[in-house]
Amino acid sequence: MSWYHSTLLNTDRRPSRIIASCKQFSRRVSVGISRAVRRIQVPDNRLDGGQSKNLQHPRSLDEIVKCTRFSKSEVRLLYRGFKQECPSGNVSEERLREIYVQIFPQGNALRYTHLLFSVLDRNHKGTFTFDDYILTLSVLCRGTIDEKLRWIFRLYDINGEGSITRDSVAEVILSFYDLLGRSVQPRVEEEDVQEHVDRIFESILSTSTEEIALEDFIEYCKHVGYFQALPIEIL
């Protein structure tokens, strides 16, 4: 009875809600009957949303201050912002992706957030918590060059092997270009990306093996000297 649906639901009147509720009731009745026939118990926790089980509490303030290079008030400030955004204390990869989509509206943040997330989620739980967040921030903002470079190395090391392969570099660079999006000048072509990958890889690679080790990476970056110009002041 599609014409009925279309005529009734198109009219902006309250009775349509009654019809809708009648339909919902009949649907529920039929589902109930089918369940009774099949004798299946459907767990009813969908309404719950599973909120109570996944609440995450961070470590105490003092511990965090000890582990990171932030002061108490800074940690407080950061936590307040974090808690406001995620009341449950857990940030999933999807949530991170949504955030990055807002920050980079023209691009596709899928790859990049996947990379970021795998670095953030150190315990591979599927979500990262405030502890991870603040430790990462501490490293990135207040850490030494070595620490930062180590973090970057971990970011590039997709497979967690302890060394960067050409594929890893390709993946990372692709994620940057994805983040960029389509509407850029000049246009992004496959060859450009590949050429970029090759160039970087060749310049970092010191030995003849196909992988880059941590030390090489640190050497290269220190020589390149880009790091001096990037103090991140977030507070």
């Binding site: 390149v224 103090p231 991140i232 507070l235």
Partner: protein, 680 residues
């Protein structure tokens, strides 16, 4: 977006991962100049300070950064500094704290909710005050908000329409209009109600006659068969019918004549019903004369029953029912469609199930329709029943499904009916209350403006005579300035403010009285209690005087003028005494004793502030009243103090010369105080 702001620092921190692979060196971050020392405005982000917002006594506290999430609203921008209270170091808003709670929650959570118990107008006002657009109301509350807003707007539009209707209904010009109004609203006049009830009565009579026409009334003496009353009393019934039809015809033609748009009237439903109600009679007359087909004639009498629909003009409930059915057309359509489908299905199945039975009543599928309909509506006459097992099962399923299918659209129709009925009820109620409401509103408006004028006057009294005990609490600085402003306006336009009576409001204000009639304002004064008078001092203003030449040529009015100016701020006296106002006569007597120099003084003073160009007008060496020549000269120097000070107080104090007037008029002339300092 709040979340972007919250996560941006992290994104920037993580961007360090781009550095090794970057093709070009990355630019340095925007470097914020560090503020030396603690800046109180909160630029120093290290300590995010708490802000206290005091809304009508309820204190809300939040971080400054919470508010700065939405910089284009009042709280997020510098606009809130206007509400900062230095002493208590908080921001004070004199608004509704309940709604503010919702608004502050918006800053905190990013979602604006609409509390269902709030009035939509109040809520909108608060949002507008705090600079928040209602478009960002969250999905959870948006529908509700929009529904209520729409209802409110409809109601306002409705009100306005009806107000316009009421106001813009001029007296009916012609007989046609009177008649049409009488037909549409029977309450308008007695004739209309009489007509209404008479037609209603005749409709009832006609319908009852129709019904009784067919009751059996005993046997026919000739043929021995039972006879209906219609046959027995055929002449009486015929007369009754004729009378009714005549009334209906007359009514129809009267309506047709009175209708403003005849074509539209002819096409309307009621008109069609009228026509169908009376046509059978005429057709019957015509055919009776011809003496032909009496079978068709009998059939036509069936249409007489349509007269009962004429009752819908008389009954609002019937109209509401009709309107409901019209508006529920789709639900009814669904009902019909589904019933038809079900009938066909079940009838077919029943037919084939019962085909094998001998002497079955299910002779064909259409024959089974009757069974299906009777079963689905749970009537179950029993004239046609299945005999086989299969038939009975099918019959059972048929009746069950019938119950369901019919029960579904019924609540929809019922709720539609109830909504329309309540709407019409509300419209009627509002119509009845509208007059009372508007009068109430007008009186309230009057009261406030009258109170204000009274307060102003009292304040001026107080300034004249500090001895008069006055409640100091009444006068506050804003009121003073408001009074002064009004006073300036008065002097600019050479008018004075007057307390308005209810009739004055109807007339559009008592201030602007046209014509050279200086006493028209007085006509409004019923009692000495009215202390202000309307006084159109047209003759003071040179321009007006010239314009007035055509009007004020006759002796009487000249007398008026001369007499008037002597006592401008009181009831203008009639030297000729032609008005017959008792109050006027009294003052006339008084005036002759009184030095009119005071009035000269006063008027001159007042006029001087208006236009310096018309100096000849108040050349004090040539006073208007010859008696006052000396006094006039003496008063020349009084101009200067006025011009020097130029304040309201001085102007008011100049009116003090009216002290010699006896106290019976002291309340008429509102400045009875002496002030000799001006005379020297």
């Amino acid at each position: 977006m709040a979340s972007v702001a919250a996560w941006l620092p992290f994104a920037r921190a993580a961007a360090i991962g781009w550095v090794p692979l970057a093709k070009n060196p990355l630019p340095p971050p925007p470097f914020r100049v560090p503020t030396s020392g603690a800046s109180p405005s909160g630029n120093d982000r290290r300590c995010d300070e708490k802000i206290i917002i005091n809304v009508s006594g309820r204190r809300f506290e939040c971080w400054r950064s919470t508010l700065e999430k939405y910089p284009d609203s009042l709280l997020g921008s510098n606009e809130k500094e206007f509400f900062y209270d230095e002493d208590t170091r908080e921001y004070f808003f004199d608004r509704d704290p309940d709604v503010f709670r919702v608004i502050l929650n918006f800053y905190r959570t990013g979602k604006l909710h609409y509390p269902k118990h709030e009035c939509i107008a109040a809520y909108d006002e608060e949002l507008a005050f705090f600079g928040i657009l209602p478009d960002i109301i969250g999905d959870c509350c948006y529908e509700d908000y929009r529904d209520r807003k729409r209802e409110n707007n409809e109601r306002l539009i409705d009100d306005r329409l009806h107000e316009d209707e009421d106001k813009a209904q001029p007296k009916p010009q012609s007989i046609r209009e009177t008649m049409w109004r009488a037909f549409e609203n029977p309450q308008v006049s007695t004739m209309a109600s009489v007509f209404y009830y008479v037609t209603g009565f005749f409709i009832a009579v006609s319908v009852i006659a129709n019904v009784l026409d067919t009751v059996s009334c005993g046997t026919d003496p000739e043929t021995g068969y039972a006879r209906t009353c219609g046959e027995r009393f055929s002449r009486q019934f015929f007369c009754l019918d004729t009378a009714c039809v005549m009334i209906f015809t007359v009514e129809y033609f009267l309506r047709l004549y009175a209708a403003p748009d005849r074509l539209k009237f002819i096409r309307s439903v009621m008109s069609v019903i009228d026509v169908v109600a009376i046509m059978p009679y005429y057709i019957g007359l015509f055919m009776h004369q011809k003496g032909e087909v009496s079978g068709a004639f009998v059939t036509l009498r069936v249409f007489r029953v349509f007269r009962i629909f004429k009752f819908s003009r008389h009954s609002q409930g019937l109209r509401v029912l009709g309107y409901t059915l019209k508006s529920c057309a789709s639900e009814l359509g669904f009902l019909l469609f589904s019933l038809t489908m079900a009938i066909i299905i079940f009838a077919t199945v029943m037919y084939y199930a019962e085909k094998s039975v001998v002497h079955t009543k299910f002779t064909s599928i259409p024959a089974a329709f009757w069974y299906t309909i009777v079963t689905m509506t749970t009537l179950g006459y029993g004239d046609i029943v299945p005999k086989t097992w299969a038939g009975k099962i099918v019959g059972g399923v048929c009746s069950l499904s019938g119950v369901l299918v019919i029960a579904l659209p019924v609540p929809v129709i019922v709720s539609n009916f109830s909504r329309i009925y309540h709407q019409s009820q509300r419209a009627d109620k509002m119509k009845a209350q509208r007059k009372a409401r508007q009068t109430r509103i007008r009186l309230a408006r009057n009261a406030t403006s009258n109170a204000f004028v009274a307060a102003k006057r009292r304040h001026e009294q107080y300034l004249d005579d500090p001895d008069i005990p006055v409640d100091k609490n009444i006068v506050n600085p804003f009121e003073l300035q408001h009074h002064h402003l009004l006073r300036c306006l008065e002097l600019t336009t050479d008018r004075e403010f007057v307390e308005m009576g209810p009739d004055a409001l109807m007339g559009g204000g008592a201030n602007a009285v046209a014509g050279a009639h200086p006493t028209t304002g007085i006509a409004r004064l019923g009692s000495p209690a009215r202390q202000f008078i309307l006084n159109r001092r047209k003759w003071w203003c040179c321009g007006d005087r010239m314009n007035n030449t055509n009007a004020t040529t006759n002796e009487e009015e000249l007398d008026e003028e001369l007499g008037d100016f002597q006592l401008p701020l009181s009831l203008t006296p009639r030297a000729s005494g032609s008005t017959g106002h008792i109050v006027n006569i009294n003052t006339t007597n008084v005036i002759q004793h009184r030095p009119s120099s005071a009035s000269v003084q006063h008027n001159v003073v007042l006029h001087s502030t208006i236009s310096e160009s018309s100096t000849n007008r108040f050349d004090l060496n040539v006073p208007f009243d010859t008696d006052d020549r000396i006094l006039g000269r003496r008063k020349t120097n009084s101009l200067t103090p006025v011009q020097e000070q130029g304040s309201t107080n001085d102007l008011l104090n100049d009116d003090s010369h009216t002290t010699t007037i006896p106290t019976s008029h002291s309340d008429i002339i509102h400045r009875p105080t002496t002030d000799d300092k001006q005379t020297v």
